[in-house]
């Protein structure tokens, strides 16, 4: 049942990105191009997503545990550190270069676009490189305390 719920959530997420046009890199770049023919659509997508998810999260917080799992894994980190800012800046550069972030990139694998496939392979390599690097620099502490499950998302 947990798998079904996760699949339905991913499917709903994918429909949202498709209907909103956010699967199209050019639509995303149109939002980022504030000095050109600006397309504010992405701001509307985020605003609507925030309203609905905020209400859903409020419901989830009222429950002792999730419907299908043992516990809710809310992110626990609160510090605004150099990793957060540097990582976000690097991500922003990549996002601005082609207009793809992880969600639309994975979803666009469905189109079998060679450019998307190359992007996703590079993205996965980037993730693995980071995790190898982080493991080397922080050792066992990272393995126990910083599993991806307790990260922000």
């Amino acid at each position: 049942m947990l798998m079904v719920a996760s699949f339905v959530s991913g499917f709903t997420f994918g429909l949202g990105l498709l209907i909103s046009g956010m699967v199209q890199p050019q639509k995303v770049l149109g939002f980022l191009d504030v000095f050109g023919a600006w397309d504010p659509s992405l701001a509307v997508v985020m605003a609507a997503a925030l309203v609905v998810s905020n209400a859903g999260f409020a419901l989830a917080r009222r429950r002792e545990r999730p419907i299908l799992a043992v516990q809710s894994l809310w992110p626990t980190k609160t510090d605004i550190d150099r990793s957060l800012v540097t990582g976000a800046a690097l991500f922003g550069i990549g996002w601005g270069l082609v207009g793809l972030c992880p969600g639309p990139a994975l979803e666009n694998l469905a189109t079998f676009s060679p450019r998307v496939i190359v992007f996703v392979v590079a993205m996965v390599i980037g993730m693995v490189l980071h995790d190898l690097w982080a493991k080397r620099h922080t050792g066992p502490v990272w393995r126990e305390g910083m599993l991806p499950t307790t990260a922000d998302g």
Partner: protein
């Protein structure tokens, strides 16, 4: 603002928010795509099942939409192969370093009113705006 599509943006955004709410209510997880994907890649996580199911759902959405006749656009990425590879590496490394992407920080994190996520979102959006401005209006044409 010729390409502004507020109605489909609001409907689609609502669905993205609903997906995040469903995942938290049923599975107790944050719908952050970079984190979900990274957890599939190994490094000690044992809960790959729900992650794989979420990503499968994400990919099945356009396939199903296409089957019922909803137009699925093919992604337009005129950038060179080198730029695509560099962009992919930066997105992968950067989202792991900052602990989230547009979904984990931008939607779920801001919905939780996390100062960390608000900061991350401001930084990656600001940086991306600068990159697009430079590539389209300064370097490009």
């Amino acid at each position: 603002m010729a390409n502004f599509t507020p109605i489909s943006a609001a409907i689609g955004g609502g669905l993205v928010g609903l997906a995040a709410a469903l995942l938290m209510l049923f599975s107790g997880r944050i719908a952050g795509i970079s984190g979900i994907l990274a957890g599939c890649l190994g490094f000690g996580t044992r809960d790959k099942g729900w992650r794989g199911a979420f990503i499968a759902g994400l990919v099945f959405a356009p396939l199903t939409a296409g089957l019922v006749g909803y137009p699925v656009p093919s992604p337009q990425m005129p950038a060179s192969w080198g730029v695509i590879v560099v962009a992919g590496l930066l997105v992968g490394f950067g989202t792991r370093l900052s602990g989230g992407c547009t979904s984990g920080h931008g939607v779920c994190g801001i919905a939780r009113l996390s100062a960390r996520s608000v900061t991350a979102t401001a930084v990656f959006m600001g940086t991306a705006v600068v990159v697009v401005a430079l590539s389209r209006h300064v370097l490009g044409g």
